[in-house]
Symmetry: C2
């Protein structure tokens, strides 16, 4: 799919998600001009140096002026503040979207500031890596990944369809759902797993009888998979947990319940319970591979890593 979908797109916040959007938009020729803004002068300098965005602006209002689509790519915690700032200069008929990992809270922050003639279509691309910043983006990030859109009451179908076409042009599969369901699904597939990975890595780090170097050297036994997701952007994740509090805590409650049941099975030596449980979880992995959402290659197809010098 290609062809210009929006004459002008403004990317606010120039991290992994926005920079990948830019390269994917360019690859597909999906926009006439893409402007960009980042709060940090360093980030703007980097963006100019690597050719990220057709025009990098020094103020957020300059970046959004005249834009047909404004994409909020800032941490979830500041979506409302940014929206308040740009509201006065938004072009009538423009669409505002976001890429936040939480939807109910973002909607609550954005809606009070939305001008009447502007439509808000919340979005969330389910793609990323453990890297962050303007130099971490790449055009293929969204290929065959899902992007979720939230079509809210009163928003014209046209506005949703156009945004949908943009994401499809960037390679994504698009699905629509309501904000509450989004937040619950993401609590299961993303937020709870991230918190659990952070926790496990933290436990390993401050256990005194096992040294840091042992944790690191022997990580191939399973632990290293946890460290990848526990290396994600701290600010982004702080905001996610604080703004999807209820759903995340609910899933963590379920998780703890289940963990206690397995701990009890270990303590009492109930091997059948453990074996049945572990057999059931294997099937899920198969489903993910069949759906094209991960590689079947062993160890994610990791190449052999370099010989350690130590």
């Amino acid at each position: 799919m290609s062809g210009v979908i929006y004459d002008r797109v403004a990317l606010i916040g120039l991290g992994l998600i926005a920079s990948s959007m830019f390269w994917a938009i360019k690859r597909g020729g999906l926009a006439g001009e893409v402007t960009g803004y980042a709060r940090s002068a360093d980030t703007r300098d980097t963006a100019r140096r690597i050719g990220l965005c057709d025009r990098v602006c020094d103020s957020v209002t300059e970046a959004v002026e005249g834009a047909d689509l404004v994409v909020l790519c800032v941490p979830v915690g500041v979506m409302g503040a940014v929206m308040e700032q740009i509201a006065p200069v938004l072009k009538p008929g423009a669409t505002v979207t976001d890429v936040g990992s939480v939807k109910r809270d973002v909607i609550a922050q954005v809606m009070p500031h939305l001008p009447e003639a502007v439509h808000f279509v919340p979005g969330h691309p389910l793609a990323g890596t453990e890297h962050s910043g303007p130099e971490s983006g790449f055009a293929e990030l969204y290929d065959n990944r899902y992007t979720l859109l939230i079509p809210m009451e009163g928003v014209p179908r046209d506005a949703v369809d156009r945004l949908r076409a943009l994401w499809e042009g960037m390679g994504a599969n698009v699905e629509e759902m309501d904000a509450d369901h989004h937040d619950l699904v993401l609590a299961v597939t993303s937020h709870a797993p991230h918190l659990i990975a952070y926790t496990m890595v933290g436990v390993a780090d401050d256990l005194r009888r096992v040294t840091d170097s042992e944790v690191i050297k022997y990580s191939a036994a399973g632990f290293r998979d946890f460290t990848r997701i526990a290396a994600s952007d701290p600010t982004m994740w702080r905001d996610v947990f604080l703004t999807n509090k209820e759903a995340t805590l609910e899933i963590l409650g379920r998780f703890t319940e289940e963990l206690f049941a397995l701990q009890r099975a270990i303590r009492t030596g109930d091997g059948d319970h453990l074996h049945d449980y572990f057999t059931r979880t294997r099937a899920i992995r198969r489903g993910i591979i069949d759906a094209g959402q991960d590689t079947a290659a062993p160890n994610f197809g990791r190449g052999q890593t370099q010989k350690a010098t130590g």
Copy 2:
């Protein structure tokens, strides 16, 4: 490193670990002859078909007769039973080793059956994939991974050094430690992370308000990393948890404590606590990459997965 280290090696149990050992031994020319035995006739047929082992035997005693090194590659739960069976035919002066993920329990199972003129050097290669069975092995599995050996009291240094040379010939870095420390280190780096991954995948699976297909489709948001380790061999992992009960339960206790502290931070909105915690865990990932134990490529360098048809 290469050159024949043992004239005859017997591999008992022909899964991922043994089959990778065979191909690595062949690659390095490290043994004169490698015999193999598996309890299942199907596995033995597969081994013969793919050329796994120089000679596949139909009885375990036939396989170990005359061997200079016997490698027990069976689940941890049956190490003692296999040792009892082979003890009468072991060659005087031979070394027995194992590849079990738990060391104290394996030693307790094996030692009562060990003939006087045979040495037991417990071992554990920290390498693997989520695949299992005789066809899942490959010669490079141990390259730059660590293998831990347990040099026990009364075992001649020569016996340990020779086994060490074999593992180094197969590409591994070898370290020595005592059994208790091994079991604690592995509880942190492997056993607890596996149980946690199994638990999280199980929770996602039986949550009624989020469908299976949603869990699968949207797994790229973090969850899919958990499913890989939760796809590992159920029998092996049942035995690991039952035989490294104390250390695993201790680490899980620490994990739960830490998880509760983070849950409380979420509930009370303590963003600083979360941000500090997430910043600290990032450093560990860096350490693992610097030590050559994982790739720095985003998402483990996964290739783009195939376009889903659904």
